[in-house]
Amino acid sequence: MSEAVSAVITSAPYLLEGMGVTLALVAISLLIGFLCGIALTLGQVYGPRFVKRLVDIYVWFFRGLPNIVLLFLFYFALFPMTGFDVPAFAVAVVVLGLRSAAYQSQIFRGAIESIADGQMLAARSLGMTRWQSIRTVILPQALRLSLPGWANEYPVLLTDSAVAYVIGVAELLTRTAQVISKTGEPMVLYLTCAVIFILLNYGGMMLIQRVEKKVRIPGFGNNEVTDT
């Protein structure tokens, strides 16, 4: 038992660094997913028909494939075809981000569609252009409405980020496995890793709930919009 404890203590700095990599992976993917997600939503809701079809296909593709298959496809096949030597971390961020964009776009779409059409008409009748109405009237409301659904993306991405292990990104799980292959003690180290993930999960959720309370639209109660 004391051997196990010392294994955890001596490997702690290495594992904590891995925790940093995991958090970076999650944060950057969330950001990519957010930006691409909004672009996809706008294309799907307001774009011409062929753009709508394209977004549909994008969402169908990224939601229909397992994470691990996407990672393999991008890491072993698509990126090598471009001829650039892209590091595993970048591939993981791109895959997780593009995949999250597909899910996030459906959350935003639900929120936009839940805002009454009258808002758009009113904005247009005040002389705003279509784009102005979307940007200054629809989106500010839609983004606040979609926060409860959006908050779900954090735990999803956090647990999914561990799959980056399969292409060798040095995140928390990969490093735990490396330490185990040197020191043994698989049970204790894996459980330590699990506890770190669970703490990150609930710590992050609590943070998000605080933000949620702050930006809630007064009088809207807990109108939840989730992806359907």
Partner: protein
């Protein structure tokens, strides 16, 4: 201008195109044996293992999830806490890590499950934890008056839960539970990491052995897209059929 040169350039361009086409055609023909004799048979075998994993996980994951949900809503305090701890652990722990614990961790304390069983148990634990959340929400959304009314008619609490609350809750939880089923199809691919040769594992083996990464992963991607699309379409029909009229169910919450 010079019609003769024009004609010859046209002719060379044309022969360039036909050369390119016949080369591509030859390339495709050369690829056929690889697909027919190596890649597709391996993927079919993998598909069967994937379907086995999914078919075995889904019912157990659902029943265990229902049990945990009932424990969380109607259990006495220590049972409630235990159920909550269960959900926190199995939802918060990445599935891949859970599989590592079952497959690489447990043997160190003397429990050897083997790869298929490790994957299966991991999937059931994960699936049930997520399902229990949908089911708990549905159980709690059934109005309290229903329980009171059932007990006023002389039912015991257990009877009321079983005959009055659960049947209503199941229909409300259907969108969430069926969504989780789609996720299950996709995360069954993680079994590859603990050496179960399912779809993804089969593709990875062929890809590395024949250095055909694009072909293998594109093909396996098509397999998953087809399965997931079929499952989604049939679930949509199921949801429409069992939606409680007038509640607008069918929208996942």
């Amino acid at each position: 201008m010079d019609a003769a040169t024009n004609l010859t350039t046209n002719a060379t361009a044309l022969s360039g195109i036909t050369d390119f086409l016949s080369e591509t055609w030859a390339h495709i023909l050369a690829e056929i044996p690889f697909w027919q004799d190596i890649l597709l048979p391996a993927l079919w075998d993998g598909l069967i293992v994937t379907l086995q994993l999914v078919a075995l996980t889904a019912p157990f994951g659902f029943l265990l999830g229902l049990l945990v949900a009932v424990a969380r809503v109607y259990g006495v305090r220590p049972v409630r806490w235990a159920a909550q701890l269960y959900v926190i652990f199995f939802r918060g722990c990445p599935l891949l890590l859970l599989l590592f614990i079952l497959y690489f961790g447990l043997p160190s304390v003397g429990i050897v499950l083997g790869s298929f069983l490790s994957a299966l148990i991991g999937f059931i634990l994960c699936n049930s934890a997520y399902n229990s959340e949908y089911l708990r929400g549905a159980l709690q959304s059934v109005k309290g008056g229903q329980m009171t009314a059932a007990q006023a008619l002389g039912m015991t609490k257990l009877q009321a839960v079983r005959y009055i609350v659960i049947p209503q809750a199941l229909r409300k939880a259907l969108p969430g539970v069926s969504n989780e089923f789609i996720y299950l199809i996709k995360y069954s691919s993680l079994a590859y990491v603990v050496t179960v040769i399912e779809l993804t594992g089969a593709a990875k083996i062929i890809a590395s052995k024949y250095f055909a990464y694009f072909e293998a992963f594109a093909a396996v991607g098509v397999f998953y897209l087809v399965i997931v699309t079929i499952a989604t379409l049939s679930i949509n029909r199921l949801e429409k059929k069992y939606a409680i009229p007038g509640t607008g169910a069918g929208k996942g919450t």
